[in-house]
């Protein structure tokens, strides 16, 4: 009976020790770094890329106006399931807010940044269902604006054995801006985020 009571009390105590769920303070998160990529790493990489691009002077269009930019392929060469659109969304948002660039949803290397509805409404226009719509509201041909520049890149991961107990994981964020007319690359940048931790930690 005594053993049963002790077991019951222990179970109650252990249950009370379960860490409670809390919202992360994303503005001033004092949490420890992790071996994988978390939102703070994406924020840091995006911030450095944005500042590099805006400070390079590449986005100033001769004759004034804004460049039409498409998001090309951003390759995830890491062991983690990263939605690269997550990184690009931060960069695209600031690029548009800068007033130098307008992003296009008509063309893109990633499905997340393009809008299939652009072509769906054109399919409707060219189909038998077009009669159902007010002809004046259907999209006319030759309206889409082709992109002038494309931004693409890669996220690379390298795992290195630091010593018997620790490993080092390096994440390389690479982005480049290409002129789609000439194929010339006008801007390129790489940001490295390095982590060093226990061999027992996983980075996937």
């Amino acid at each position: 009976m005594r053993h049963l009571l002790s077991l019951f009390v222990c179970t109650l105590v252990l249950a009370g020790c379960t860490p409670e769920t809390r919202n992360i303070d994303t503005i001033n998160d004092p949490g420890k770094p992790v071996m994988g990529l978390d939102y703070r790493d994406f924020d840091q990489a995006a911030s450095r890329m944005i500042q590099s691009l805006l400070g390079s002077g590449t986005l100033t269009k001769q004759g004034g106006g804004r460049y039409v930019v498409a998001t090309g392929r951003v390759i995830n060469d890491t062991m983690q399931r990263i939605d690269t659109a997550q990184l690009m969304a931060k960069i695209e948002q600031d690029l548009m807010n800068s007033g130098k660039v307008v992003m296009t949803s008509a063309v893109g290397g990633q499905t997340a940044t393009s809008d299939s509805l652009i072509y769906d409404v054109r399919d409707i226009r060219d189909s038998d269902h077009a009669d159902e719509f007010n002809a004046d509201t259907l999209q006319a041909k030759g309206q889409l604006i082709a992109p002038e520049l494309s931004i693409s890149g890669k996220i690379i991961q390298r795992n290195i054995r630091y010593d018997n107990n620790r490993q080092q994981v390096e994440y390389y964020f690479q982005l480049q801006l290409t002129d789609l007319t000439t194929g010339l690359r006008f801007w390129q940048n790489e940001t490295v985020i390095g982590k060093r931790g226990s061999n027992k930690s996983v980075s996937w």
Binding site: A46, S47, I50, Q51, L54, L59, D94, G99
Partner: protein, 145 residues
């Protein structure tokens, strides 16, 4: 014997200090790399390090410069100096303000890492996310690990 030892110690210190030659300040030579001086040698250095830790020396800001680049974006540069003997790792976050003092929301406003080696200068450089940036605020925090 004691007097002889003290004299010898003094001579060694003087010799060590005479080896130090002042150089161009644009090149920062760390302790242990450059020649010793009266203020930095094998005898004085440990005392200096303990005293520095005791009085809590840290990083300081020397100069802040801001300008508008040719694309119309505000850029800023913060130059400082780490008075401590050890490397100070910290994070900084630049908040950009518009003409009326309002915060400009931007993904570029993120905590970024920086570090300052002991007894060395450090620099922060940032570019505003929009042409409406008129001022800025920088917040810093120490990296715990």
């Amino acid at each position: 014997m004691k007097i002889t030892l003290n004299i010898l110690l003094g001579v060694v210190t003087l010799c060590a200090s005479s080896c130090y030659q002042p150089h161009d300040e644009r090149v920062n030579l760390q302790q242990g790399l450059r020649s010793d001086s009266l203020g930095s040698n094998i005898i004085v250095r440990p005392v200096g390090q303990v005293w520095s830790a005791l009085i809590g020396e840290g990083i300081e800001v020397k100069r802040i410069t801001s300008w508008t680049n040719k694309d119309g974006f505000m850029e800023l540069e913060v130059r400082g100096y780490n008075k401590a003997h050890g490397t100070k790792r910290f994070q900084y976050r630049v908040e950009w303000l518009d003409g009326s003092g309002g915060v400009i929301g931007s993904k570029a406003t993120a905590w970024l890492q920086n570090s300052a080696m002991g007894k060395s200068p450090w620099t922060i450089h940032a570019v505003a996310p929009g042409k409406n940036a008129a001022d800025f605020k920088i917040n810093t925090r120490k990296i715990k690990n």
